[in-house]
């Protein structure tokens, strides 16, 4: 019995090149949205029906005198028990058995958007205001079922993102955290048992993004 796939996002290796953000749009044929600079490099400023992956930037002073500048490549966590599915009783949202990917179907039009979004501990689902359909990362379902890795992982130059069989990814995550703990006592893998998109952080998760570790 397969345990499906996982994506590991090792933020300690992320350089904020945003290749993943662009690759997501490219593969999924999503349009560039109209943005303006809001006093940060982060853009778009939030997920939307047209933006399923964004690089969140956060910064501030730190104890050693240098600032901290953290990069968090946000996307759907593909939960083992997806909260978004609580509202979806008629197959609007599917959890694929083989891969574990959580897929929003066109039937999500009929879902209660607010409740579905509320059900996600990471606040990921977004609605197309015109069609009412809900959208988010599909783990590149069309790619991973055709022997390709997700577009975001493919684009990552530093190895911050890796994709593979879940047990292997869990093993890699564990080893990496162990390694990082030597320098960063707060290093950990976020909710590794509950999600398929596992983030490794080296500091308090809230310093990366308020919902990095969930609600």
């Amino acid at each position: 019995m397969s345990e499906g796939y996982s994506i590991l996002v090792d933020t300690s290796k992320c350089t904020a090149c945003r290749g993943c953000q662009i690759a997501c749009k490219q593969w999924n044929g999503l349009p560039g949205t109209k943005t303006k600079n809001e006093g940060t490099h982060e853009n778009p400023m939030d997920l939307s029906a047209d933006t399923w992956k964004i690089l969140r930037f956060s910064e501030g002073p730190s104890k050693n005198g240098n600032p901290f500048w953290y990069f968090f490549s946000e996307q759907c966590r593909h939960c083992m028990s997806p909260g978004c599915m609580a509202e979806a009783e008629k197959g609007e949202i599917i959890q694929d058995e083989k891969t574990g990917a959580v897929i929003f179907t066109p039937k999500t039009k009929s879902l209660n958007y607010e409740a579905t979004r509320e059900g996600c501990p990471y606040d990921i689902p977004r609605q197309n205001p015109k069609t009412k359909e809900l959208f988010k990362c599909s783990m590149c379902f069309d790619r991973i079922t055709n022997n390709m890795i997700p577009a975001c992982v493919k684009s990552c130059p530093t190895g911050a993102m890796t994709f593979g069989e879940r047990p292997k990814i869990l093993e890699t995550a564990k080893a990496r955290v162990q390694e990082l703990t030597k320098r960063f006592p707060k290093a950990k893998a976020l909710n590794a048992d509950d999600v398929r998109t596992i983030y490794i952080v080296t500091d308090d998760p809230q310093k990366y993004w308020k919902l990095a570790a969930g609600k």
């Binding site: 943005t35 006093g39 953290y70």
Partner: protein
């Protein structure tokens, strides 16, 4: 790069300074990360806490334009603390050379300076030579006039406290960096530098790099895996364009461009060909005549003969002292001296320093040809801000060209690897590959010359056979020509080469007209073995990531240059764990000893190691004396790097000497050549940089919705302290101005910029990207180069876009 991208993984300590590699060379971080995974240390030195800094183990801030004090302090630290690699310094550098009695250094000036011409007479810096013309040496390094002692004396002034008072870097941060980097001065450690435009774009740009070169030599980091001096090139294939001499002062393969006083081939070759009296110096440049004559044969084929100096007389000559680099060209254009301009694959209206002057210069032209894949601020300058099309006579032609993936050819990366690319798709519409545009253009020019041209020989005699049967430019024919051919049956050693055979490598090129080569350093790239640039084998015999059969690297597929310095005098690697090269003695066969050989990378020449005092050769084969230059490589502004303030700076004096700015820079003095220093109207240091999302001026990326979505608008980054001082809120629009112009920008107020404590003065610095322009997107903002000064490094004339003075204010009435 002396080394190459993958080799970064072999480093124990990576200094990123004058570069923000994570943002601007994202893939480099793959190898930096591997070095870190192996226990290597990453140091980031930058005025701003960057994406690279965010990944670093050690970060230090410095005020823009103070890299020489920062690094000069490191030289002093290395010498004071005995951290240098003694065997290396003694045997492989000119540390032991005795400098002549005319050399001196007083209060910021070297001997030989003429204030009238603002030039040095470099003969004042000459080495002492014996009756055989050999440089005198003191191998005890004690002679007060030897390079080592002069170096010590020169940098004795660069104490941590003094450096700190100039750079604004806390002393403790300086020492952290010095200690970490100096720890690579041992046999088994490698330290490397990744630099980019943050070092070159200064009035002391070349000397910034020289300072680091001295450090690398002191620590024995040149020529080794994980070491070197690595320039991260700022444009795809800019390495190739430099190799191919897309510059005014050189011919392909870095051959000096002929000057008007070099009236015939003999005088020219004599001037460019160095001599040596050192028996153990290979002095490889002694072969330059072979390369030059082969180039002439490539240009003019059978028409280039011994009798006509191989066509030397047909080459246009530069006047003595003439400098046709960017700033001078646009100065001449502004003065109306240039009538026509091909702007080919560039966007000077946004990329040129003091871009207002550039734009005014374009308006003085009779014609402008804009070759690009999109329209640009250059092609449409006549309808740009402040321009009245009715008053502009310039006729503009737009030639759409093929993008990189729409044509076949080679591309050379920063690591000197020439990699062949296939064509993926046809160019859209009427767009053509650059080669086709040139072929058509030349056909027309040749036609006009045939009809009624004057001095037609250089044009009509050109060999020019790079087209295929359909009349299109043929990149394979061109690449083979660049490699070169035997032009008659030739026997070299035991091997016979038939006329028309490709030359196997540049060692076989001849000065008698029997070979051709369009670029000697690329000889071997496309030979009898085929197109070596198209190779894609993934074997890595050394385990160091050299991948010798992946593509091809100049010269002669050497992946790390100066690699003879990676071994000791007996040819054994300093660090056997990273064995780049190794001399293996020959076995005895039938009582006869076979010759030894090098194993590993392609060595810098076949000679045995230095312990063989007859056949052995010194490692730095491109230097006439065979040893690396700690002192004086022939720069116009001095034999040792010395700190001078940027032309525009925030401090009233140079704390290290009475010489305020680089005494040899050219200062333009026309109506639009303004600059100000310590002027209260422009109190803050400004600098420019790039973002990952945009390419150069953004000419290709600003049209791309996903990229413009991620970085949509011109911004200016500033510290919280400065924002408070000016009452600026994060995200609001502000005005950034210099004496040369004003741009609007969104304020990014950040903890990643901090004010500098420079002596008694608090210095604020701001930074802007230069990837925007008025054309697209509509609310994207303007180019930061409207603010930058048109003053250049005296050696390269690269503009000082990294340190200048600005003001930042709220928009009137707020925003």
């Amino acid at each position: 790069m002396t080394n190459h991208w993958i080799d970064l993984k072999n480093s124990d300590c990576i200094l990123v300074m004058g570069s923000n590699a994570a943002a601007n060379h994202p893939i480099s971080m793959k190898w930096v990360q591997k070095a870190k995974d192996n226990g290597g240390i990453l140091i980031s030195v930058d005025p701003r806490y960057t994406q690279t800094s965010a990944k670093s183990d050690i970060y230090a801030a410095l005020r823009s334009g103070t890299d020489i004090p920062f690094l000069g302090g490191m030289i002093k630290y290395i010498l004071d603390n005995d951290k240098y690699f003694k065997d290396y310094v003694l045997n492989y550098t000119n540390a032991s050379f005795i400098v002549g009695p005319k050399y001196d250094f007083q209060d910021g000036l070297f001997a030989g300076y003429d204030p009238k011409t603002r030039k040095y007479d470099a003969t004042f810096w000459a080495f002492e030579r014996d009756q055989d013309s050999r440089v005198k040496r003191d191998t005890t390094l004690q002679n007060p006039n030897c390079v080592f002692q002069l170096l010590k004396k020169h940098y004795s002034r660069y104490t941590p406290e003094q450096v700190s008072s100039i750079t604004g870097t806390p002393v403790s941060d300086l020492l952290k960096v010095y200690e970490a980097y100096a720890s690579t001065g041992t046999k088994d450690k490698a330290g490397t530098i990744m630099y980019a435009m943050g070092w070159t774009q200064h009035t002391v740009g070349v000397q910034n790099i020289r300072t680091m070169s001295i450090i690398q030599l002191l620590l024995g980091n040149m020529g080794i895996a994980g070491g070197g001096v690595n320039a991260l090139r700022g444009e795809s294939n800019v390495q190739g364009s430099t190799d191919a001499a897309l510059l005014f002062h050189i011919l392909p393969g870095y051959l000096a461009y002929p000057r008007a006083n070099q009236t015939n081939l003999e005088t020219y070759l004599k001037a460019i060909t160095p001599k040596t009296a050192e028996p153990m110096s290979a002095n490889w440049p002694q072969n330059l005549p072979k390369y030059f004559v082969s180039l002439m044969k490539s240009f003019w084929g059978d028409k280039a003969t011994k009798e006509n100096d191989f066509g030397y007389g047909w080459l246009p000559k530069l006047d003595v002292g003439q400098n046709c680099s960017w700033l001078n060209l646009f100065d001449a254009m502004y003065d109306g001296k240039i009538k026509g301009f091909f702007s080919w694959g560039q966007n000077p209206a946004c990329s040129g320093a003091n871009a207002h002057k550039v734009r005014q210069g374009l308006a003085k032209l009779d014609w402008l040809v804009n070759v690009n894949i999109f329209d640009s601020e250059t092609g449409s300058f006549w309808k740009g801000p402040g321009m009245d099309p009715k008053n502009i006579k310039t006729e503009v032609f737009m030639l759409p060209c093929a993008a990189s993936i729409e044509k076949e050819g080679s591309i050379s990366n920063s690591g000197r690897w020439a990699q062949w690319r296939y064509k993926a798709v046809d160019a859209p519409g009427m767009a053509k590959p650059d080669g086709d545009i040139m072929v058509e253009l030349f056909d027309k020019i040749r036609g006009l010359y045939k009809k009624n041209g004057k001095f037609t020989d250089p044009i009509l005699n050109l060999k020019w056979d790079y087209v295929n049967e359909k009349g299109h430019f043929d990149p394979h024919k061109m690449a083979k020509e660049v490699n070169g051919f035997f032009l008659k049956d030739t026997k070299i050693g035991e091997t016979e080469y038939k006329k028309g055979t490709p030359v196997p490598g540049f060692a076989m090129l001849q000065a008698d007209g029997s070979t051709s080569s369009g670029n000697w350093i690329y000889c071997q790239s496309y030979n009898a073995a085929g197109n070596n640039m198209a190779r894609r084998k993934k074997e890595d015999p050394t385990g160091l990531g050299l991948f010798p059969e992946w593509a091809w690297a100049w010269p002669v597929n050497r992946r790390i240059i100066y690699n003879r310095a990676s071994v000791d005098l007996n040819g054994q690697p300093w660090n056997p764990k990273r064995s780049l090269l190794k001399w293996v003695e020959g076995q005895e066969v039938d009582g006869k000893k076979q010759p030894g050989k090098w194993v590993g990378d392609v060595p810098d020449g076949p000679w045995p190691p230095m312990s063989d005092t007859k056949a052995g050769r010194y490692p730095f084969i491109m230097k006439p004396d065979g040893l690396a230059s700690i002192f004086g490589p022939g720069l116009v502004d001095g034999p040792f790097p010395e700190h001078y303030e940027p032309l525009e700076c925030p401090v009233p004096k140079n704390l290290l000497s009475g010489q305020f700015i680089n005494p040899t820079i050219k200062i333009f003095s026309g109506a639009m050549d303004k600059h100000l220093t310590c002027d209260p109207r422009f109190p803050f240091v400004g600098t420019t940089y790039r973002v990952t999302e945009h390419w150069q001026t953004g000419i290709m990326t600003r049209w791309q919705p996903w990229l413009i979505e991620a970085e949509p608008q011109m911004f200016v980054e500033m510290s919280e302290e400065l924002a408070k001082l000016r009452g600026i809120k994060n995200g609001e629009k502000v005005k950034v101005s210099s004496i040369r112009g004003v741009v609007e920008a969104v304020a990014i107020v950040t903890t990643r910029f901090k004010p500098f404590q420079v002596g008694d003065v608090t210095v604020h610095q701001v930074g802007m990207p230069w990837c925007f322009g008025w054309m697209v997107p509509k609310d994207g903002g303007e180019s930061a180069n409207l603010l930058t000064p048109n003053v250049g490094d005296p050696n390269t004339m690269i503009p000082e876009s990294k340190a200048f003075m600005v003001n930042v204010t709220r928009m009137e009435g707020g925003a």
